[in-house]
Symmetry: C2
Subunit: 177 residues, 2 copies
């Protein structure tokens, strides 16, 4: 999809709405070079270290966690309502078991600034290089959050420096605003 | 200042611009009940644990860090260009040494949802309850970030559940968009 450079702050309400409605697609190459993506429900944007930053939270049991650890970069792709089913599939299957992007009918483009796949069908993409990673600390979690960790598997938190943010000209329409 | 409830995603570009230009005002009560604020340059907004979250980074040497640890809540106040000097002062003096809000000509209102001060002169405010806290992990920092920590003092990262986000009707004008 043709996109132009935007500020990382543009379209934020649309991006958060898409995240809440169907999830975003967090994409990275696998250690053996295949494109993979998982559906991402928790993401933050802003500025840290005086640079644009995108934070994503990934449970260590997820294959994507291992992929990002090894690749050191990722993309966050914002999907429109036409990709509801693809996002559902990418959120329930594991890339360990095969090419779920193909199964979901998604195709891949090269990112412009990092070695990570971009989902061609998504109107907005953030290209990110990992500049920090830390973890959820179980003793520091409020009681109301414990229910998310009944099986442990506490999230790794990846801090991605946003090297590029790009959107299709008609991103707002495509995302159904 | 009179404000109405907004979505935490509204006005995001304005808020990030204000942060970059003059900083935001991160406010909390001191352990002995005085209102205090520091100027905040690093902040993120988004969704985690299926709730609106505001992340702020505070060095442990800062008095505000101790205040937030004890109070368990804070507000993030978005200042307009008329508060350039007040933000400069709140970024350079410590609340340990006196009432810097008074010195900066800032006045305080009660928050609606948490026990934290709101800066009356700020057109936008986020009221937050701390639901998690973790730390910057030195071995996990990219080389390009090491320069921020020549003296150690690695940031604490507070994850605030946004209980209310409110903006003045003319917030965009007041913030100089």
């Amino acid at each position: 999809m043709k996109r132009k450079e935007i500020s990382h702050t543009e379209h934020f309400p649309l991006v958060m709405d898409a995240m809440t409605s169907r999830g975003l697609l967090l994409a990275a190459y696998t250690p053996d070079g295949r494109a993979n993506a998982m559906t991402l429900g928790w993401c933050m944007l802003g500025g840290v270290w005086s640079m644009p930053i995108c934070i994503v939270l990934v449970r260590p049991s997820r294959y994507t966690c291992e992929c990002i650890e090894q690749a050191g970069c990722f993309t966050v792709n914002v999907a429109g309502a036409d990709l509801d089913e693809a996002c559902l599939l990418c959120g329930t299957k594991s890339g360990r078991d095969g090419d779920k992007l193909a199964e979901a009918g998604l195709t891949v483009e090269k990112a412009e600034t990092v070695e990570a796949p971009v989902i061609a069908e998504c109107p907005i993409v953030y290209e990110c290089k990992v500049v920090h990673r830390n973890n959820i600390l179980p003793p520091e979690l409020a009681d109301e959050l414990q229910r998310w960790y009944a099986d442990g598997d506490y999230h790794h938190i990846f801090f991605g420096k946003i090297l590029a943010a790009r959107a299709a000209q008609d991103a707002a329409e495509l995302l159904g605003s």
